[in-house]
Amino acid sequence: MAVHPLTPGTSPSTAPVVDRRASTRRTAVAGSVLAIVLVAVLAAVLVPLRDHLNVATAALVLVVPVVAGVAVGGFAAGIVATVTGFLAYDFLFIPPYSTLSVGAAQNWTALGVYAVVMVVVARVVARLDAARAEAQYRAGSVRRLFDLSELLVRDLAVGELLETIVDAMVPAFALDGAALLLPSEDGLELVASAGRPLDREELDRLSAHSAVPVTIGRTAARQGDVQVLALEASGRAIGLLALRGPAETGSDRDLLGAFSNHLALALERSQLREQAVRARLLEEVDRLRRSLVGAVSHDLRTPLATIKVATSTLLDTGAPVGPQDAAELVGLVDAQADRLERLVSNLLDMTRIQSGALELRRRRVAVADLVDEAIALVSTAPEPAPVAVVMPSHLPDVDVDPVLVRQVLANLVDNAVRHAPESEPVTVSATLRPHGRVEVAVEDRGPGVAADERTTIFEMFNRREAGGRGGLGLAIAKAFVEAHGERIWVEDAPTGGARFCLTLPPANQDATDVVVHAAGRGAP
């Protein structure tokens, strides 16, 4: 189905309605002139032959201008044509010629029959013509309504849709201006306008708070040259259409009524859709907030559980513990307090990243230092975390925020230690990659991560307590690594278990040069 664009002045199907009467007058004149000319021409042809012709033949020939006149100019032109034909017939073809007197009685009959037949012919042809014009006009109306309705079902944002529609209405209904008003908190709000805008006074008159009563309903209410249409859907008023223009014909009013119903439905539909979208959004925000609270509460409660068990044991005078056990418990409390402190600063950094307030304090550091410090962070005193470090001797320095990267590595090591069997150490290794990048990998021999969980494991809101490795630690690690513009991922370790990898940027070009140079010096 073709869509007809309805911008002002571009569409032939939306020609102004008011011109119809003026054009009727013009065609009547044209038809009359045509009829008179035809009568003159036919008379000029027939006059030399009139002595050889029957009186009735001339009458028959003179039917032609009348029919032509009616066809072109309607009934008025038909009357002019009939009078002209009658005079010409009487004057030129009924003896005695060149007078209006009629001789024989049979000539009276011919003249009378001519006059009656011509009037009837004019009437019938004019009726047919008018019916055709009406049908054409109705087809045009349907087309206009269709074109406007097409606009209503387009997938546009509400504001844009309203502007398009009001723009299209002005030429379609031959208006001077149109405006759409929707109810807002303080009365009516003008949301779209086209053509000559409503002035302050007119707007005030429409406003519910003004003292001027406004009557609106199915039939439009008029105020000066502005008429107001209420838009109703599901029995409630959802807006006002204010139209400026001349009083319209009955069929135009019907068309306007039909169209305003369509408009009201479209408006209601788009408003409902916006509400639905907003409701879905709120639901999603609420879900995220709840899972964040759940995640934070899980990660805070875990170290708290150890602290509480340790302190309540130490405080219980009924079940005393030996000095060695007491020392172990105090060490646990200390380590878990550190873990809580890390979690809190992690959360703060996370918030700063998300609000865009985190500034990377990049510095040139050695990867080995970062790894050592990270392991120290997760070690539970007095014994160090069971971590083996595999590091090549010539590794370029990296250009990172050491606080954040240390935290990332600590989170990964902590995660690995918690998931690896006790007898199997966690391995941290570093390798040089192209362009001087350093890849650090943290590997354990625990259960590994299923292929379909390798993305969600880094999400802050993945399911907890269902036996996953996820948690805030991995989400934070991802955020920190990505803040550096680098990559973090998880894969299968060759020994079974999981291998978390991340890349770190080289300190600068010189650093790689130094390494290459050092390697070159080593060669013979």
Binding site: G294, L329, T380, R418, P447
Partner: protein, 225 residues
């Protein structure tokens, strides 16, 4: 006092629990994964299992269900999120009780004691009288006495108390109680339960719910005396 197996993936908590439980006289063994936990339950037959719901390999709920297929060992579930539906699922899946992290040793000890009392050898549906503290429930004569004073209960109140008494020390979920006492077509009518528990507590002189304990959002338990 008892042999306790603790299954949790958090090593720090395991170490603290090992010291804390040992100080209270328990013999403690630990497992860090669900599979390890299952094999230790099978091999060493502990008297009580303390099971974390968030394990790296198996869901704690799954461990609970598997254990129940071949063992009646009391299981106390540890949960960190405070999500009621997980605890209810664990209890429905066969766990006896739950403790929310963080918890003190006194609380865990109380749960372990209650769970040990509820060992099937001591209370079976076939018992004629169940006595817990000063409360005695006589199944043969449909009589309840408190401090040797007979307590008048309606039939439904007696059935409710009898069900809790058969599971003394174990948290019974709303669904369990409703389907067992009211009938299998019941399960979500917790408001019935609230009314009956309120009446039961009044008649037992227990307005604070020390005897019939409320597990908020989960169910009720008759506390061992």
């Amino acid at each position: 006092m008892a042999t306790v197996l603790v299954v949790d993936d958090d090593r720090a908590l395991l170490r603290a629990l090992r010291v804390g439980l040992a100080a209270r006289g328990h013999e403690v063994s630990v497992a860090v994964t669900g599979e390890e936990g299952l094999s230790k339950i099978a091999l060493s037959s502990p008297e009580v299992v303390v099971l974390d719901l968030g394990l790296p390999d198996l869901d704690g709920l799954e461990v609970c269900r598997r254990v129940r297929q071949w063992s009646d060992v009391p299981v106390i579930v540890l949960s960190a999120t405070g999500l009621e539906e997980r605890k209810v699922a664990a209890l429905d899946g066969g766990a006896d009780d739950y403790v929310t992290k963080p918890f003190g040793m006194a609380e865990l000890e109380a749960r372990i004691r209650a769970a040990l009392r509820h060992r099937p050898a001591e209370v079976t549906p076939g018992d004629e009288v169940i006595t817990t503290g000063s409360l005695a429930v006589d199944f043969v004569h449909h009589q309840v006495s408190l401090d040797n004073q007979t307590v008048d209960l309606t039939a439904r109140e007696f059935d409710l108390l009898a069900f809790l008494a058969r599971n003394v020390g174990k948290v019974c979920t709303h669904r369990m109680i409703l389907s067992q006492v009211w009938g299998s077509e019941y399960g979500s009518e917790t408001e019935y339960l609230r009314v009956y528990v309120y009446r039961l507590r009044r008649k037992l002189g227990d307005p604070e719910g020390r005897l019939v304990r409320t597990a908020p959002g989960i169910g009720y338990a008759l506390e061992p005396g």
